[in-house]
Subunit: 202 residues, 2 copies
DNA sequence: CGATTGCTTGACCCCCATCAATCCTCGTGG
DNA sequence: CCACGAGGATTGATGGGGGTCAAGCAATCG
């Protein structure tokens, strides 16, 4: 199993503020998992007991609404960390993470990393910063959902996908989503989303 | 000016984990302001440079959408703290706070409280917990906005108002909102919101 | 090569945004 | 004390966005 100290994705997230010593300890107790496309990383209602650090692949993070439809809240990829909320609260997860492509994921148990949270202020500050950024982002999404038309939301989503995942020389996005997933990101019926998508291509 | 050490609202928020010594220091540098109904506490684009602790009154926290309509994200009252994000990021505020009733608000400058954030792990943990809770809540709101009808959202809002502000013996809510504000919470036109509201009364 | 899953298209109609007109309420000044 | 004006609260008419259902088509997999 590879070592956290040498892992490149670490540079992308809050773990970069851990000391070498802390990293070796984390490295010793982490477990690495492969998750196939379509499988879930964790589900709503589960006890997380740790955080997940994505080595490769893409996952959607979603939540079921009471009328039985899935709402995708955001997407995560290489370098992203998910499950930080489990570190500060003992509640079960309110989100579900599902692999959109095959993934490599490292699981770091809560007991190990929580000591760093209490003793390394740099690390804590980084986690705080990330939460603050997520919160700001969530506010924007709420406004968009509440006030904008499906067409506008579709445009926002395409921009989001482009800034997060980029596109190749032929302007094709570096991420493949099913029509249903697209609709579940912007919160609409699949049919309407697609209709507007084809309009955009002109 | 009254002292933070004796302030009751402190027990309601993260400040409760500060030591007596820290509190006296904070108390010395805080400024207390009265804000009349309709005036703004701070606006989008402002540099906050500190946090606000509400002593009394109610404020709506909102954000303008690009099509010029206001979206209210949440309401705050006695004991709530707002502006924590300014402690961890140097960006300008993305939100606006407006008094819905006359208010008493204490302002604590960033320089003072940030040292506590770095040196008192209890306090930091409390701030983290509050952010985690806000984030979880924001996720729920996103799902509601994206998937539920105006009628369902109206019902959710009434529940929210009741749990947050309570009601008197005659089941009248302890908060008075204009029709426009009601509409701006659930993200709809004023007329539709009111139509459904009258239905509920039956 | 069937069979299951996902994509596309169209018809229908309900929810709700928009606009407009009227009514109520309350603060202001005469 | 009353008249008046302005902002808020109701009510209604209208049209379009988009949700829902259904059927046909393409693609993928065992």
């Amino acid at each position: 199993m590879s070592k956290c100290e040498q892992c490149i994705v670490r540079q992308l997230n809050s773990l970069k503020s851990l000391t070498k010593k802390e990293l070796t300890r984390i490295s010793g107790c982490k477990t690495s998992v492969t998750i196939k496309k379509g499988e879930t990383v964790f589900d709503e209602g589960e006890h997380l007991n740790g955080v997940y650090c994505i080595s490769s692949g893409i996952s959607k993070v979603s939540k079921m609404s009471s009328n039985g439809r899935e709402q995708i809240l955001f997407l995560i990829q290489k370098g992203d960390i998910i499950g930080e909320r489990s570190l500060v609260s003992d509640e079960v997860s309110n989100l579900k993470a599902t692999a959109i492509s095959d993934m490599e994921v490292c699981f770091i148990p809560k007991e190990e990393i929580i000591t760093d949270l209490q003793e390394n202020p740099d690390f804590t500050m980084n986690v705080l910063k990330k939460m603050a950024a997520s919160l700001k982002n969530a506010d924007n999404v709420i406004v968009d959902m509440a006030q904008k038309t499906v067409k506008q939301r579709l445009a926002e989503m395409l921009l989001y996908l482009d800034t997060k995942f980029g596109h190749d020389a032929e302007t094709v996005l570096n991420i493949h989503l099913s029509r249903e997933d697209i609709a579940n990101i912007i919160g609409t019926a699949t049919e309407s989303a697609i209709l507007l998508l084809s309009e955009f291509k002109k």
